[in-house]
């Protein structure tokens, strides 16, 4: 009964989506406020119905209703409650339902919080949003219905893939989807602007908070996924340049570019056409990501099942929206007027440089991700494009970008003074150089790039701090005045600085982990000791334990540093009888921002067990940097001008530029 209710709610949402996709646009053309206002109500109702459908599926999982095929295939009555709930999106059908749920959340948010949007723009935005929703409801109902029943109902389910039975599943997919799907709002705004043929600085101001919100979620989602992979796979790696990871990185890069170009548009009324294009691109890349992950062209944990019909359907959605969006762009964009003039050396110029490098880096990732698929389709030749390719292409481009990062915020709008900015950055550069020298001295030999990468990270961080110091005139004016100024700074200035600092922090972590880490692999018997850096790990014994739906063999280690006990580590191997497979649970010990990482390999007949032991200095900075970036985004989002919205009347005549 509950499953049918969910199914029915989803069908109703489809119907509502169709209404919302057509009526408001017609209303906007006819200038009919009543027809236009249908959009808001429909968006909220759509959200309620999708939430009902989602709730119904959750209920089926919680009550272990195995007559529902989806529950039978992915759940088990002995599974802990949290994994019964998270298991809802630990499969293809359920994860698509989560996708549309989040899409409808964003639609409802625009309807509820977009009160200061011009009626026409709002109607068009919500209509475009609903086109996307309609396509995906149709996709779910025709190819991936989670509510299908089977008869007779089995007694027990097949359980969720053990590797997904982890708290990470509760956090990573929802965050990532909020990011992915959030870009649909920027896309809808762009398409709405093209339909109306009108775009201005105020438009950028409305789009930016949504883009920022999506970007924050995507940043957090990618970081979370990376940390999950790090602790769960037992290899100590945190980024594999795997196609599915790239699928989330590409919209992130495009979204980052969009955030920056929207600033130019908002402040200087320039780069309009470009910003629209980026908004279309960011969501297109989200769709490409959904396609790569969900269509089954890649075999992976993420591609839960491959069914050609699904792949073709998503490909059609992809072609329709990307093709349609770009066609509309090509047709309407020339009508948009160019904005203000500026010299190449200026804040605008710096932001364009940022966009250029980001997009080219994104293109390199795109190429590396899709080339193997294309090559195989065309020639049958199978290749693997792995980390070396991306390190050689993405790496240098991003390094150049990072060098430029501290300059951007210090340059003036319109016409900047590169020499002056360089002088102001001398302090930061000096610290960077000291970082290089110190690393050289400490590391001695080793890869030459390491000290420079450290120096670069320090330069990025201190460069961002320099910007804050300059703005508050810290140390130049009395401390009280400086604090008053700091309080008076727009929050977006703090946001920018924090986001850039986060970038530097992540870089520190990456260099520390990849270049200064050590690894040991050995076969140990209980009673033996293995050492790494200054840590000695004594293998005490092996214990067997039982969990709710698995049995576990754990190896207990006592960790000493200089003879003193500092803790214990218990890596284990779990086996899940319901699936006949298992997971390796690594043990982590955090020391400052570094970690000791221990995971188990095969047990040998002679009683010894293979272990992998890593010392990973600075590793936590990789994710802490992302957290700092997200906090920066949050600060920027709470900036007064985004909260209050765009100033209206008076000046607006001069600012608004009708296309015709």
């Amino acid at each position: 009964m509950i499953a049918e209710l969910g199914h029915y709610a989803l069908v109703l949402a489809l119907g509502l989506a169709l209404v919302q996709a057509v009526v408001p646009i017609y209303g906007a053309r006819q200038n009919d406020p009543i027809l236009m206002s249908v959009a808001g109500a429909a968006a909220v109702a759509q959200f309620l119905f999708v939430a009902l459908a989602f709730g119904a599926l959750v209920a089926c999982y919680v009550t272990s209703d195995f007559s529902v095929t989806n529950v039978f295939e992915n759940s088990h009555s002995a599974k802990p409650l949290i994994y019964k709930i998270t298991g809802v999106w630990g499969n293809h059908e359920g994860s698509m339902l989560l996708w549309v749920l989040i899409l409808s959340v964003f639609g409802a948010l625009v309807a509820l919080f977009g009160t200061n949007l011009p009626a026409k723009l709002k109607a068009n935005v919500l209509a475009v949003q609903s086109w996307v929703a309609f396509a995906f409801y149709l996709f779910i109902l025709t190819t991936s219905n989670p509510f299908l029943r089977m008869s007779p109902a089995p007694m027990e389910g097949r359980d969720l893939n053990p590797i997904l039975q982890d708290p990470g599943l509760a956090i990573h997919p929802p965050l990532l989807y909020f990011g992915y799907v959030g870009f649909s709002i920027s896309f809808s705004f762009a398409i709405a602007a093209l339909i109306e043929g009108k775009i201005d600085a105020a438009w950028a101001r409305w789009v930016r908070p949504w883009t920022l919100l999506a970007w924050m979620f995507l940043t957090a989602g990618i970081a979370m996924g990376s940390y999950w992979a790090y602790y769960t796979l037992g290899w100590g790696g945190w980024w594999f340049w795997d196609p599915v990871e790239n699928a989330s990185l590409m919209p992130w890069i495009a979204g980052t570019a969009l955030l920056h170009s929207a600033v130019v548009m908002e402040k200087r009324n320039a780069l309009k056409v470009w910003t629209i294009l980026l908004a279309i691109l960011a969501f297109s890349l989200s769709l490409v990501g959904t396609f790569l992950v969900r269509s089954g062209v890649l075999t992976s944990v993420h591609a839960f099942a491959s069914d050609p019909a699904r792949g073709v359907f998503i490909l059609m959605i992809l072609t329709l929206f990307i093709g349609g969006g770009l066609t509309l762009f090509a047709w309407r964009a020339p009508l948009l007027k160019q904005g203000g003039l500026f010299a190449p050396i200026s804040r605008e110029g710096a932001l364009i440089f940022n966009n250029l490098l980001l997009l080219v880096a994104c293109a390199a990732v795109f190429f590396g991700t899709l080339y193997p698929l294309a090559l195989e389709a065309l020639t049958g030749q199978k290749i693997s494009v792995g980390a070396p390719f991306f390190n050689m292409t993405f790496g240098p481009l991003f390094a150049v970008l990072l060098v430029a990062v501290p300059f951007g915020p210090l340059l003036a709008w319109k016409r900047g003074d590169l020499l002056g900015v360089t002088q102001r950055l001398l302090g930061a550069a000096a610290l960077g150089v000291i970082g290089i020298v110190v690393t050289f001295a400490v590391e001695g030999g080793g890869p030459v790039l390491v000290p420079f990468a450290f120096g670069l990270a320090i330069f990025v961080i201190t460069g961002a701090v320099t910007d804050l110091i300059e703005r508050t005139a810290f140390l130049k004016v009395p401390l009280g005045t400086a604090f008053a100024r700091a309080r008076g700074l727009p929050r977006s200035a703090w946001g920018t600085a924090l986001a850039h600092i986060g970038l530097g922090v992540t870089l520190l972590g990456i260099v520390g982990e990849t270049q200064l880490g050590t690894e040991r692999i050995a076969e140990l018997k209980p009673g033996q000791t293995i050492s790494i850096r200054r840590y000695d790990l004594h293998f005490d014994d092996i214990v067997e334990r039982r969990g709710p739906n698995y049995s576990e063999v754990a190896a207990r280690f006592t960790v000493r540093r200089g003879g003193e006990v500092i803790g214990t580590m218990e890596p284990s191997k779990r086996s899940f009888p319901s699936r006949g497979s298992g997971t390796t649970e690594s043990a982590l010990m955090t020391r400052g921002v570094g970690q000791i990482y221990l995971s188990l390999g095969e047990a040998n007949p002679d009683g010894s067990i293979a272990v992998r032991l890593y010392h990973k200095p600075l590793v936590l900075l990789i994710w802490l940097g992302a957290v700092v970036m997200v906090i920066g985004g949050g600060l920027s989002l709470s900036d007064r001008r985004l909260r209050i919205g765009a100033p209206k009347p008076a000046r607006s005549k001069a600012v608004l530029q009708p296309a015709e």
Binding site: N161, I163, G225, W228, A229, L233, G234, W235, G237, F240, D242, P243, V244, E245, L298, T299, S300, V301, H302, A303, Q338, L341, F342, A343, P344, I352, F353, L356, L357, V360, A361, A363, A364, F367, G368, Q381, K382, I383, S384, V385, G386, P388, F389, N391, M392, T393, P396, L397, I521, E523, K573, R579, G580, S581, G582, T584, G601, E602, A610, R612
Partner: protein
């Protein structure tokens, strides 16, 4: 600066960055790409010793020999040809005789494949796509046999 000049500077710098990126991609394509081969491909193609490649197939029954210090030798087969593989290190959880495996490394002069990474698969539901295709080519693919073999590269998130 006039609009025209500004546009020239913009286009100029865009083209420069693009050219650099294309150069980077082309170099990387030459150096950083690894081809996938089945044992039959290796036997027929005369691959130069020392060049990196991926070798995939089934671990031949009865071929696994473990030595000291985590040395392992086994054979990878696609039913028609087999290649000896030498590897030192931890094997993934689901490395089994008769199951699918993908190894990466180089061929030495004696025809032994020195692997520096071995990927077996995490979930028994799937077969690595490359391996399945290679086996199909040799006519050794059995639908349910494929199901019992596994796919998920250990150590990948995917």
């Amino acid at each position: 600066m006039t609009r025209k000049k500004r546009r020239l500077v913009l286009i100029g710098s865009a083209l420069t960055v693009l050219a650099v990126a294309v150069a980077l991609v082309l170099t990387a394509l030459k150096d950083a790409i690894v081809f996938f081969n089945s044992p039959t491909d290796v036997a027929e193609k005369h691959i130069a010793t020392g060049s990196r490649l991926r070798l995939g197939g089934l671990v031949k029954e009865g071929s696994v020999q473990r030595g000291d210090n985590m040395q392992v030798r086994f054979e990878v087969t696609d039913g028609k040809n087999s290649i000896r593989v030498a590897y030192q290190g931890l094997l993934p959880d689901l490395f089994r005789e008769g199951q699918g495996v993908v190894t990466e490394g180089t061929l030495d002069g004696a025809g032994t494949f020195k692997a520096d990474s071995v990927l077996a698969k995490h979930d028994e539901k799937y077969m690595p796509k490359e391996v399945a295709d290679a086996l199909k080519k040799q006519g050794h693919w059995k639908e349910d046999g494929g199901k019992s073999a596994a796919t998920e590269p250990q150590g990948r998130t995917q």
